[in-house]
Amino acid sequence: MKFALAVYGAPANSQAPQSALHFARAVVAQGHEIVRLFFYQDGVNTATAIAQPPQDEPDLPNEWQVFIQEHELDAVVCIAAALRRGVVDQAEAERYQLSNHNLRAGYELSGLGQLLDGALMADRLITFGA
């Protein structure tokens, strides 16, 4: 079965990215397919490369990145939501002449259409809200 997962909460103020990661691991373990991960609203903060949780706390952004890369998942971060919240890739940083870029490898910035596209192509859309 094809799953699309949407994550709308940030690691520091919701459990959404953590719940979604647990769920995604179980999806893969059962032999189902994740056709799209979509990070929207505050969920875009999951994709920042410059968060560094204290050593005695789980490093969720890193865990997500490892999982995405290990399973070669299509991980999309909504570009409008990300720009609003200071998550940008190199191309956007250059476009808007920002001093830095911080999107983790493994993620791609793209439009909100990718959420709809994911919802329509998957058998199930599971949303993890804030």
Binding site: R25, H32, R124, F128
Partner: protein
């Protein structure tokens, strides 16, 4: 047509879920939704008899919420299986 409803808080998300729930649907309490099991109002008592109620084990345990016997306690593997078994998933948050 069966829907799995996930509920991640016991306030508005639980109330809206109860309004959207239909005969044969299932409700899964996750994250802060597990506090619904403690709440004095017990909105979940309004759940129709033919709906199943589940709670995610890790979230209940993390919060020290003890589980009544009639509740089905499940893990993420079962969560995925429930999503597969239902036609649709609605997420109330």
């Amino acid at each position: 047509m069966k829907t799995l409803h996930t509920v991640n808080k016991s306030g508005q998300p639980m109330a809206l879920c109860l309004r959207a729930v239909a005969t044969g649907d299932s409700v899964l309490l996750i994250e802060d939704g597990v506090y619904e099991l403690l709440s004095s109002g017990k909105k979940i008592e309004a759940l129709p008899d033919d709906c199943s109620l589940y709670v995610l084990d890790v979230d209940a345990r993390a919060r020290g919420v003890s589980l009544p016997e009639h509740i089905k306690v499940i893990g993420y593997d079962d969560f995925v299986a429930l999503a597969v078994d239902h036609d649709n998933v609605l997420s109330w948050f």
